[in-house]
Symmetry: C3
Subunit: 350 residues, 3 copies
């Protein structure tokens, strides 16, 4: 899958903004790999101090290191954040020039559709009435975009995505296969013995730089919008219910779920299979651990765990006791017996 590129260490150092040791500027590098997997010709990187041993043993031809690590055996490029450099190296070695494929003749469009420049709209895509597609947008096969929806410049929509009507997708957004944006919120009113559907007439706003995982679902608002703010990244199979507002630069791992009208601050992390109940507020910089269940408001900066979620430290302390519960019960019983005996002895002495 990789183009056979060969790039000099000097060029690499320049492009990742690093400082190259020694006289290795002309050495050619052909790939990037982890310290253990790297072979001759590869450049590698030290992401965590715990991998220092792997650095000693790597077969890479050059390495990217943090500024304060000393290492002489190989050519070194020093940077502030080697893991960020890794992402840059992947771009350098794997990015291919984008060539617009235009609009495939099988694409079906409604009326008043506006399509920007240099798009690639693949077969079997359906664009409803009044849809707007920005410049350089890629829409893969089988994707549906409903009436009045908008896709911003430079966004990529993978195959078999459904974007319902009245959804606004910002610039540089990535939506993975099978995601559904703008499905009806789950709202009913129980009346005369059955559930009556509450029409869901709001929309969804996905801001710039958001990424949405495969088969994730984001419901439209009942009235008003469900909102995912700039830079937030959402993994696969996540549920975001109607009228939720998610802040900027959040990270939601797979199978997390957020119930209706909850508001999530900025830079919030939901680990895998975490859940947030409806109508609560999760503050900025909060982390909810895996399988954690948020049932009430969480203040800024907290890390919480468990169901119901409590501060992570308390949860750790409690779980440390939890496994010893059978022993605790046993001790309690034997203590009860001892106290009874003492009581008897004292009673007899009276």
């Amino acid at each position: 899958m990789k183009d056979k590129k060969r790039i000099t260490l000097g060029e690499i150092a320049k492009r990742i903004g690093g400082e190259l040791s020694g006289e290795y500027g002309d050495m050619e590098i052909s790939n990037v790999a982890g310290l253990k997997d790297a072979v001759s010709g590869d450049i590698s990187f030290l992401a965590h101090r715990r991998n220092l041993k792997d650095l000693q043993n790597t077969s890479a031809s050059a390495v990217v290191l943090p500024k304060d690590v000393t290492f002489d055996r190989l050519p070194v490029i020093k940077v502030e954040n080697p893991y960020y450099a890794f992402s840059q190296l992947l771009h350098i070695f794997y990015d291919k020039p984008y060539i617009s494929k235009g609009v495939n003749p099988t694409v079906v469009m409604g009326s008043d559709v506006h399509v920007g420049n240099d798009v690639s709209i693949y077969p079997f895509v359906y664009l409803g009435d009044c849809v707007t597609i920005g410049d350089n947008v890629i829409i893969y096969p089988g994707t549906f975009i409903g009436d009045g929806s908008l896709i911003g410049n430079d966004s990529v929509i993978y195959p078999n995505v459904t974007i319902r009507e009245n959804v606004t997708v910002g610039q540089g957004v990535i939506i993975h296969s099978g995601a559904v944006i703008g499905s009806d919120g789950f709202g009913y009113v129980f009346h005369n013995g059955t559930h009556h559907k509450i029409p869901q007439v709001g929309g969804v706003i996905i801001e710039d730089g958001v990424e949405i995982g495969a088969n994730t679902t984001i419901d439209r608002g009942t009235l008003g919008n469900t909102i995912i703010k700039r830079g937030t990244k959402i993994d696969n199979l996540v549920q975001v219910a109607h009228n939720v507002t998610v802040g900027e630069d959040c990270v939601f791992a797979a199978q997390a779920g957020i119930a209706g009208s909850a508001t999530i601050g900025n830079r919030v992390t939901l680990a895998g299979q975490a859940g947030v109940t409806g109508h609560v507020h999760v503050g900025d910089n909060v982390t909810v651990a895996g399988k954690g269940g948020v049932t009430k408001d969480i203040k800024d900066g907290q890390t919480v765990s468990g169901m119901p979620a409590i501060p992570h430290r308390d949860w750790l302390r409690t779980m440390a006791v939890f496994d010893g519960l059978p022993e605790m019960r046993h001790k309690l019983s034997s203590l009860e017996n001892k106290v009874k005996e003492l009581e008897k002895i004292i009673e007899n002495k009276k």
Copy 2:
């Protein structure tokens, strides 16, 4: 997205079956909104007593209230259930007349397909052999309907849905994007060291008025049918396994799951991320709290929580102690020491 309708309060009162105060029958209303969001020209409603303060401050031009609330500042329509009136108001202001789009020429059909009157079948839909589509059915792009399946009158199938062979969908059913109905049940027999697939030759029956959320999966029976009864509402990313029977008017929130051959009564609520193990029976009017895990039969009318799920009251009492476990252990230790001391003292006195 809203048509610019203007409707008199008199007409609104008539259509929602309410009683209009004062001489406001000719006042024109153009939209419905929540108490906080409403602006001049809107009608709003009081859904919960806890919002009485919002009622005082609303900028709406008229309000729908329960019969026993007194309020003079604005024109009032009194009804039994204002939240139900809200759903009616959304229909009044947002419903558009349905215009059949017919069958798009890109649709591919097998043999012996019967299509009812006034349908809208969008591009890239595939209908297998012997499929029956009722009147007024809407099938959005990219949906697949397998051999011998049936879609009842007035049902709506959103984009990219898969309905496999031998599935019966009732009348007035809504199936959201990406849902899969009739995928193979997960059945294997371990024999001679590997898992052998058990052919899943049953079907699925979805009764009238059911709603199925985006990317939800409902497996076909091994033999016989998986059944979802009348009026049940299922949210996104829910799993219903093979040979499950779900009763009437149930409500399953997102990411809930039901394992094979479980039977679920009528009016059962599964909150988000709840689970029901296989082959158990959940009685009528049961509620399983968020993340609750049902591992055995649950009697009618119970509310259960936790994993394994226990009566909610017991769970609340237990969780109240749970956080105090480290303190309990500490107390137990110090008590053990005290009792040891007492024993010594008494021993010495002998």
Copy 3:
């Protein structure tokens, strides 16, 4: 849905490798059913000893029994594993001869696509550049297969599946509707205040005989591959993250999830809604109970439960105490009071 086949007991015994009692070789059988559902003309089977009573009462015309069960009322075929025989009987009565449908004219293919013999590629399928499709492969409508991907012989891909670029699917693999194979792994590096995407340039390898459930997602590796080994069966709505390796003959129930770079041994069972955190190793023959959360390495052969997951026996012992926590706290308090009193008495006696 069933073809009206009539097959003699003699033929059935031969095909399932069993021993037929008495002189019933010419008796004709027309269907297979469970002991309770069977009617005259059906053959049934005893899968578990707990169903011996159903055997007594069955209306079936013949039964398949384990070798050590004696039963005279009906014709009997004795086999080693009657449940395996059941799966064979389903094949016998329900399998239809495969007739290749060829490549539908609406299918869109890129360049250098190789399609094997006797395939069935349905409408609205998209095959990218350099795709290879083996013999007898069935690809249902709306499926996408990306550049350079390969589908092995005898595999079945159900409707609306997305298989991204650089994915290798083995022979005899079944992928259910809505599944997404090869979506980008969820990898970012936080740098200068925002999350930067780490390009996900690896692939996915699905080995022979694997089955993947509806709307399940399997991410591509960052570098290198995500791997699902031979014979593993994965249910619906399961998440397998980037660079995970799953061993042979595993069984993952619905809504289970595995985080990035975890390695799963052979014959591992994940029950419904179980989770495995990133970078851990789960040994061979491990079972994780429903909703269990694996947070560290698990040794071969263990059964674990709870969050965090602990050995199942310990979890059972602990949960047995858990419900009694309020009572324990009460006992502890009253014991504290008693000890205080004893202390006073002894103090006074000094």
